[in-house]
């Protein structure tokens, strides 16, 4: 039932809007609205009930295990929320002078410093609102760099064929052509192909390491040398940073620019689709081009760095300073973890992934890269099950929901047929992982015995499998008032 269906003309949550005693409307009639919008007219209790019950229809980290590769669905500490919601934090206007926001600016500055240290980059700007915006900023800086050197023939960004969709989309947004680099059977980038691809048109390369194939790119130094020698720069997609936190730093691998998904590695909540935060870090060459605002500190006072102080900046990416509330949460998380905690993130994410990989292999699943170490994630391919039993990756995914587990990432990366990209994260216990293995093994049995059970799944959720084709064909994108 939609909230609109609880609506009755004239009903109001009366304490929520101001009284209009004595208020006159002096605005010219021709600028005013004639018909009020048909927003719901409901009581406060109806709103509370409706949205409380809706919330219960969701899976979430607070209720389920989410082995969702590349998304790093780990526990979002409640303190990060509680403390970022302190009245004194929430009340600060973004344009309040820096002198009146020293508390907030201190947090942001210290977060910049910590992110520098953990990525090995020279300078960090926190302003990108999400990973994709961080990517945009990164590639835009690469472009600004070449432009500043009048090196304007470079019109191509290299992207491995296994990359996230945002990588090529971002390159396009920055006005670049995209050239894909193939991947070897062992999961590494085809360095020979790369060598053949680079040249005077190469603006740079976008890489994730560990890659989206769940393996560490072992020849990263060679790749860096090849691209650099061709005059290109290296972009690091930080989506998989959780795997290497405190173990190896993108700056040390030779990357010139990196974005970080704080809603992954720094455990800010996914919120049902955002907000995220995608800070960017750069080495020396790209420093002049960082997006503004950033926070500076003279040892005494914190202040904003804007177009004045960073004249070559690629500019602003949002009205104010990006998703500050997300940054506060990440800051709090980082302070809770501290130096030792950072190391442990990668260690236990990797331990969990390798353990889960071995156990699934023992349970009869095929690994995409059986001879490689898992990083924080790994890939199972159900090509065999698809062929033998018509049980697809999607069928496994939907059936897992019935067992109370969120599905792994399906059909990504595109290179591996019928794949499940599985990432358990460090915050899950061994028992939880064992329970997941049991469910997977049970589904494998079901596939052999009664594959319809999988095709028809899910069975226990608020709805059964949805008609996506109809959704796209007979577009129904909004409720409309009757009559």
């Amino acid at each position: 039932m939609l909230i609109f269906e609880h609506s009755r003309p004239g009903r109001r949550a009366a304490v929520q809007a101001p009284d209009l005693d004595g208020v006159e409307n002096d605005l010219p009639a021709e600028l005013l609205r004639e018909d009020p919008p048909a927003l719901p007219e409901v009581s406060e209790m109806q709103v509370v009930r409706h949205y409380t019950k809706l919330s219960q229809k969701n899976f979430s980290i607070d209720t389920q295990f989410y082995p969702l590769g590349s998304c790093t669905m780990k526990y979002n500490p409640r303190a990060c929320n509680t403390l970022a919601m302190l009245p004194g934090i929430l009340a600060r206007h973004p344009l309040a002078p820096a002198s009146e926001g020293q508390g907030a600016l201190a947090c942001l500055y210290e977060l910049q410093e910590m992110l520098k240290e953990v990525t090995g980059m020279k300078t960090v700007s926190l302003t990108p609102a999400a990973g994709a915006q961080g990517e945009f900023a990164g590639v835009a800086m690469i472009r600004a760099y070449h432009d500043s050197r009048n090196d304007t023939a470079r019109d191509e960004i290299l992207v491995p064929d296994a990359a996230h969709g945002t990588n090529p989309a971002t390159a396009t947004m920055c006005g670049y052509k995209v050239r894909e680099i193939p991947t070897l059977d062992n999961g590494d980038v085809d360095v020979d192909a790369l060598r053949g691809a680079v040249g005077e048109h190469t603006a740079g390369i976008m890489l994730t390491n560990p890659s989206t194939l769940g393996v560490f790119e072992r020849r990263i130094k060679d790749i860096a040398d090849i691209v650099h020698q061709a005059g290109g720069l290296l972009y690091y997609d930080g989506a998989n940073l959780n795997a290497i936190l405190g173990k190896v730093r993108p700056g040390d691998m030779g990357f010139d620019v990196i974005h970080m998904n704080l809603h992954k590695t720094f455990s800010t909540p996914h919120g049902g689709g955002g907000p995220g935060a995608g800070p960017v870090g750069v080495g020396e060459r790209l420093e002049p081009f960082l997006p503004v605002p950033m926070v500076g500190y003279d040892g005494d006072e914190y202040f904003w760095l804007t177009e004045k102080e960073v004249p070559q900046t690629i500019g602003r990416l949002s009205t104010f300073m990006g998703n500050a509330g997300v940054l506060f949460r990440a800051y709090i998380y980082a302070r809770l973890l501290g130096r030792e905690g950072m190391h442990r993130v990668a260690e236990f994410a990797t331990l969990n992934a390798n353990y889960l990989m071995k156990r699934l292999e023992a349970a009869g699943f095929d690994l995409a890269f059986p001879e490689r170490r898992a990083t924080h994630e790994f890939i199972v391919t159900l090509k065999r099950q698809m062929k033998e039993q018509h049980a697809s990756a999607m069928d496994f995914a939907k059936r897992l929901l019935d067992y109370g587990y969120h599905a792994p990432t399906t059909y990504f990366p595109l290179l591996v047929p019928e794949c499940l990209l599985i990432e358990p994260t460090e915050t899950e216990s061994r028992e939880e992982i064992d329970g997941f293995v049991d469910a997977m093994a049970k589904i494998l049995e079901e596939a052999a015995e009664d594959v319809e059970l999988l095709h028809e799944a899910p069975h226990t959720l608020p709805v059964r499998r949805l008609d996506e084709v109809r959704a796209a064909r007979e577009l129904d994108l909004r409720w409309k008032a009757q009559g």
């Binding site: 609109f4 809007a17 101001p18 209009l20 005013l32 609205r33 919008p37 927003l39 719901p40 007219e41 409901v42 406060e44 709103v47 409380t52 229809k57 899976f59 979002n76 929320n81 004194g88 934090i89 009340a91 344009l95 002198s99 910590m114 609102a129 999400a130 994709a132 915006q133 945009f136 969709g165 989309a169 947004m173 920055c174 130094k221 190896v248 909540p269 919120g271 049902g272 689709g273 955002g274 177009e307 104010f320 300073m321 500050a324 509330g325 997300v326 302070r335 809770l336 950072m342 236990f348 071995k358 969120h406 061994r430 608020p462 499998r465 949805l466 996506e468 959704a471 577009l475 909004r478």
Partner: protein, 465 residues
């Protein structure tokens, strides 16, 4: 070990299952020379108690000033129910609703959000949100370039009374694609976009005209005439709207003869706290025929196998994870949790509630302008304004404003940097959250600051009468 549940037994057994001796062995594919040290630059971990104390100290340092700054972010009352519901784990810690059956809560809510936003804007379709108002304008510009089949140009008319940060952000995002943002000046007396200043572009190939209602100065535009001019010239209209004002003012979908083509704006006034500037959310609505050109996620209603109503992300073929380099945008993460807040907020306020908020805010700003206006301070523009206004003075604005900070009062946004042509000007805003006593407090402190500047060693004579 913070947030790591493993016991010693677990570690031992798991390593055994994997077949290695040590956790370090799991990193053996990383070249040894690349391994990093101990991250000395990161402080030691703290307990929650200590971090809590730190954050309380920092929060109380910044305090809760009496704030009259608007300029794109507005302090409105947010019902307590909003954030008590939004921070429920099932909303807060849920992933993007790609697995529709396990995400019906979020999906239905977004469908309701889309319905509310289209009602508010009087437009056909809405997406599930963008990052914020400024980046939404950038996306709208890209969309207009894609969508305007009549135009072959990559030129956009961008009035300079559109929020400076919106213009800057749009510049950052679109210029790499060879799009030209043509700045159109505002009317010096009215602060609005004068139809005369558009005439220079009549007959030219323009992809879209941007119209902000109210504009950055709070001034109300003659949206009907502007919209009709654009359409007569083959340009699309991108409306930049304040969603609370839209409950009171003519909505973008009703501008001129046929309405705006795309309406975007900052969603923050709909239940989102100021919080130093984010997270907020950008909204985007459009005409039905542009839906496949929209960036960002869209939720549709459909049925399940048993014919039961259900909700799912739809038109994903537009998006980067399917279309890759040919996507409508690289956007991926949106601002789902803020959309959750806005949807609950709009449900609690309703159309009448939002209208009251708009009217009460506007009335407060009018009162404030009356209280502040005197020999030294006057309203800069002569056109009707909504809930925000530019005041100007012949005195040193900085000298008037600074003393107020010490009284925990933030009097407005100084326009000197963004609009040097406006001289010493201040953009003030008093929403419905301000009491008469608050307005008086502002006026009293300002009067004292003026007195100080006009008497003690600053014998500046008023230029205006």
């Amino acid at each position: 070990m913070p947030f790591v549940p493993h016991t010693e037994d677990d570690i031992r057994d798991m390593l055994k299952t994997i077949g290695v001796q040590d956790i370090e062995d799991l990193f053996d594919e990383i070249p040894q020379q690349l391994r990093c040290g101990t991250l000395e630059g990161i402080p030691q971990g703290m307990t929650e108690q200590d971090v809590s104390r730190l954050m309380h100290e920092r929060a109380s340092k910044d305090g809760q000033p009496l704030c009259f700054i608007g300029a794109g972010a507005y302090e409105h009352h947010i019902p307590a129910a909003v954030w008590e519901l939004v921070t429920r784990g099932e909303f807060y810690s849920a992933y993007t609703p790609y697995q529709a059956e396990a995400s019906q809560g979020t999906l239905q809510l977004v469908y309701e959000f889309q319905s509310m936003m289209t009602e508010l804007m009087a437009m056909d379709v809405s997406n599930a949100s963008l990052y914020d108002g400024a980046s939404a304008l950038a996306e709208a510009v890209l969309m207009a370039i894609r969508a305007n089949r009549k135009s072959k140009s990559r030129r956009i008319l961008m009035p300079t009374n559109v929020h400076p940060a919106y213009r800057a952000t749009t510049r950052t995002i679109v210029t790499n694609q060879g799009i030209e943002l043509v700045e159109v000046p505002f009317d010096n007396e009215g602060g609005h976009l004068n139809l005369d200043s558009l005439e220079a572009y009549s007959g030219e190939d323009i992809a879209a005209l941007v119209i902000a209602q109210p504009n950055f100065f709070g001034v109300l535009e003659d949206v009907d005439a502007l919209t009709d001019w654009a359409h007569a010239n083959g340009a699309m209209v991108i409306a930049v709207a304040n969603p609370v004002a839209a409950a009171l003012l003519k909505p973008p979908g009703q501008w001129g003869e046929t309405g705006a083509d795309i309406a975007i704006g900052e969603g923050q006034p709909l239940g989102v706290p100021l919080s130093s500037g984010g997270p907020y959310f950008g909204f985007m609505c459009a005409r039905q025929n542009f839906v496949r050109q929209m960036p960002g996620r869209i939720v549709g209603r459909t049925v399940d196998r048993d014919g039961r109503e259900g909700f799912t992300l739809t038109l994903q073929a537009r998006e980067q994870h399917i279309r890759r380099s040919r996507a409508t945008s690289n956007i991926c993460t949106n601002q789902g949790l803020l959309v959750t807040a806005a949807t609950i907020h709009m449900s609690l306020l309703g159309a009448e509630g939002l209208r009251r908020v708009a009217l009460a805010s506007h009335a407060n700003t009018r009162k404030l302008v009356d209280k502040l206006a005197n020999d030294h301070i006057r309203l800069r523009f002569n056109r009707p304004y909504f809930h925000e206004a530019v005041l100007t003075t012949e005195l040193s604005l900085d000298g008037l404003v600074r003393p107020l900070y010490a009284h925990n009062l933030q009097p407005g946004y100084m326009l000197n940097d963004d609009y040097p042509e406006l001289g010493e000007s201040l953009l003030v805003c008093a929403t419905e959250t301000k009491s008469d006593a608050d307005l008086d407090r502002f006026a009293d402190h300002m009067a004292r600051a003026i007195e100080k500047q006009t008497t003690a060693g600053h014998p500046v004579q008023p230029k205006m009468a």
